[in-house]
Amino acid sequence: MSGIGTADAPATRRDALPEHHGSITRRFLGGLVTPGGAVFVLALVLFAAVVASNPAFGEPDRMVRFLARSAPIAIIAMGQYFVIVAGEFDLSMGAVIATQVVMAGNLIGQDDSRILPVLVAMLAVGVLVGLLNGMATTLLGVPSFIVTLGMMLALSGLVFYLTGGAATGNPTDNFRSIGRSGVEDVPVIDLLPYPLVILVVLAVFAVWLMRRPYGRTLIATGDNPSSAAVSGATVWWVKTRAFILSSMSSTVAGIILVGQAGVHPSVGQGYEFIAITAVVLGGVVLGGGRGWVLSAAAGAIALDLLFTLLNFREVPSTWRDTVQGVIIIAAVALSGRAWRSGNKLPRMLRRPEADPEPPIPPAVPPPATGSQSAGTP
């Protein structure tokens, strides 16, 4: 599909470069072959397998409810995508979810009028956490996995302290309905769950954002931060915004989970690893610079389908962690080769050593007469 560029032809005006190469079909098929595209195929295959195990699952209203339950992890997968495509990690997601859940439970109580202000407060907390994660990583120079692990430790400690470790707080039904109910009287499926609506809206937003200047700058920064810096990008702020997006996605997931899972400080535990698994399954390269946001969401759906399949096959759900571990290792090992670029390490874990390959050889200056065979350097 790709090739080394050919020798430059003598100076004539060329037709403008086409925007894309090949027909839509060809590009589509080409995309499916990449890890980022293959995950969609994987999701479909898994879906078929689940339906084969349990035909009732194929009914539209069941599917829709399944997607609604997967919505939180699909949302955090997209959030984690932003951070990973920038070359970093966010391991604090679970703690942020727990914080938000507990805030909702305790601050709203049975008072509907509090819903809006508390929602604002929750979003503010999400922004603050993302800001801290981002600034500690970029400005203090601490590797993101350490910053976010530390944040996880501190934040979950705080949450457990404030709640004493017990399930507390009981937010109003109106708030819980965000996670539980939906638009009623919809044809065919009867109920269109709010979480699914939220997921779709956020997915559209995410795709839109990645096509905006910020999104392109983000992925270019993850690909090559030095080059991005020379281009005038403020690398620390570009990355910090990714962390903020990630924490915001955890916040939204938390809001949904209040309705779906109740209020308890252990809600959300381990979600950061689910998010990373989903992102990696979606073919996004760790170390940054490559991958699509929808593939991350698809990876989450595929993962949930896999868990559902295992459920139907009566594999205890306690094995989920193992499944995730295998997927992470396998996907990272394979994806690096599949995209044809190596897995890059977080900057601090790499020694700043000299480039091992021979430097670009100096081109021979033009001869006094005649022309040189035009090769490709």
Binding site: L17, H20, V230, G232, S341, P359, P362, P365, P377
Partner: protein, 526 residues
């Protein structure tokens, strides 16, 4: 001038009778991706003698040295040691055959000690444990054998100066019983007294019958040390003669002195330079000092100099990558403090860096993403206009690719460089800084870039170009500024000859020698 031991008297470890060549290389030819960088080179290395290899950048000196070191495999030619044909598929093989090389980028582990570095991979043992005492003693012996005192075998290499690290590399070579030691620009980062120490080490080595291949730009040293001098030009051997038959000016003439062909586009005779677009007074940032420079709109100023002279650091200073701490910068007459690339871009500057893969492009991204990179990062609101103009821009640059979607890592070097340029042109800069703009690019693409530079100048843009290719500097520049050791050494007009430029860059003509201290290794990677 140090007198090297004559080969006949040297107690050569090679046992080579009658002082014939220890190493004989014939017809060495090497190309990279179609570019012939070395053609039919011959060289003889005689025990106890120092053989100098000179030539300007791109002449093929490094390549020849790396072929002998086993880093590159020649496309044609033969190498014989003691009359036995050799084939070096890997640097370790060359090492075992007795050829050691001291590169400019040292192969040392900075956090390990001198002794640990020297014995890496072959640590001596006493029972199951490593015999650190013996490592230390043997290392100390090696060092005193080179005539060096005051180096602690237990000192971590990162605490050593460049000169000391170099000594470690040489000691390492000796510990492998190397009979041939190649040195690549060994004094590029040394101060005067350190150079003197190197001389004495070389003297000792030759006395022991080691053959030395000495690659350098510094002609004074070539004449101080070498018995024979080989000159390469454009990948070919010009001459190989005893040092006594040559002098500095002859050497320079042999190194350069080609006729500049009509390869470079003509300057439009009607353009007169406009106002001063960029002005530096006394600028310094720790790597350069006291630089006064002015570039007018419509002018192309060439910045020449040897590797390590500070040219890249000067551009980095202007662009805010390594901000100036001293002196003043004026853009279009107004003072500007450029503390970041973003500020520089907003002030109308552009920087095409030396290494497009490392700092110029995001290789996994598409042509479009790369070409719109600066606009998106600094002027996001202009993105859609820039995107609409992009096909036209790429067309005028004659970029050859399948589509704007193609990942830039699959483009040829010339096309990649054009994408970098497209990235900057989209911001309509007033001052364009170029660092080795045609490095690693084939002839056809070079021409395109030259034409582009002329077109920019014709539009009134001020162009400051760093280049190590003398024909390019002379063919394209309206004025040439030569740097040496972090300072401006000379300003030459458009008609300057290559010889003049090289003399100013090496300080050869004036008999000066580098006089600074604490150089680090290779101030620029160029």
């Amino acid at each position: 001038m140090l007198a090297p031991a004559t080969p006949d008297n040297a107690p050569g470890p090679s046992g080579n009778p009658g002082g014939g060549p220890l190493l004989r290389a014939r017809g060495i030819t090497k190309s990279f991706l179609g570019n012939v960088v070395l053609q039919d080179a011959d060289i003889d290395l005689v025990p106890g003698q120092v053989h100098g290899l000179v030539g300007e950048n791109g002449a093929g000196k490094s390549t020849l040295m790396k072929v002998l070191a086993g880093v590159y495999q020649p496309d044609a030619g033969s190498i014989e040691i003691d009359g036995e044909p050799q084939h070096f598929g890997h640097p370790l093989q060359a090492q075992h055959a007795g050829v050691a090389t001291v590169f400019q980028e040292f192969n040392l582990l900075p956090d390990r000690t001198i002794a640990q570095n020297i014995y890496l991979g072959r640590e001596p043992r006493k029972g199951p444990l490593v015999d650190t005492g013996r490592m230390r003693r043997d290392t100390a012996e090696l060092l005193t054998g080179l005539g060096v005192e005051g180096l602690d075998p237990d000192a971590p290499v990162r605490t050593l100066s460049v000169a000391e690290q170099q000594i470690v590399e040489i000691a390492k070579a000796i510990s492998f019983s190397a009979r041939i030691i190649s040195m690549d620009e060994p004094t590029a980062a040394l101060a005067d007294h350190e150079v003197a120490l190197l001389y004495s080490i070389i003297e000792r080595l030759t006395a022991r019958g080691v053959a030395i291949l000495y690659v350098s730009h510094r002609l004074k040293e070539i004449f101080d040390l070498c018995d024979t001098i080989t000159v390469l030009k454009d990948g070919q051997m010009v001459t190989s003669r005893p040092a006594g038959e040559l002098d500095e000016s002859t050497l320079v003439r042999l190194m350069v002195g080609r006729t500049i062909s009509a390869f470079f586009p003509d300057k439009d005779p009607d353009t007169t330079p406009g106002e001063v677009a960029l002005e530096l007074s006394g600028a310094g940032n720790g790597y350069v000092d006291g630089v006064d420079l002015a570039v007018r709109g419509g002018e192309i100023v060439g910045l020449a100099g040897l590797q390590g002279s500070g040219r890249t650091e000067l551009l980095e200073g202007i662009f805010g990558v390594r901000p100036f701490s001293r002196g003043e910068v004026r853009i279009a007459g107004r003072p500007a403090t450029l503390r970041s690339p973003r500020g520089a871009v907003r002030a109308g500057l552009a920087l095409v860096t030396e290494d497009r893969k490392a700092t110029g492009l995001a290789l996994n991204q598409s042509i479009a993403t790369n070409a719109l990179g600066v606009v998106r990062a600094v002027f996001p609101r202009r993105t859609s206009a820039a995107r609409q103009a992009l096909p036209g821009l790429l067309s005028s640059l004659e970029v050859i690719a399948r589509s704007m979607d193609q990942e830039v890592q699959f483009l040829s070097g010339g096309n990649q460089q054009k994408i970098v340029l497209a990235r900057w042109l989209g911001t309509n800069p007033q001052v364009v800084l170029l660092d080795e703009p045609t490095r690693g690019i084939d002839v056809g693409a070079k021409r395109g870039i030259y034409e582009l530079m002329r077109a920019l100048a014709a539009q009134g843009v001020a162009v400051l170009m760093v280049s190590s290719e003398l024909p390019e500097v002379i063919g394209m520049s309206d004025r040439i500024v030569v740097m040496r050791d972090g300072r401006v050494a000379a300003e030459l007009p458009a008609g300057a000859s290559e010889v003049q430029v090289l003399e100013a860059a090496t300080g050869a003509g004036s008999g000066e020698q580098s006089d600074d201290q604490n150089d680090d290794q290779g101030g620029e990677s160029g």
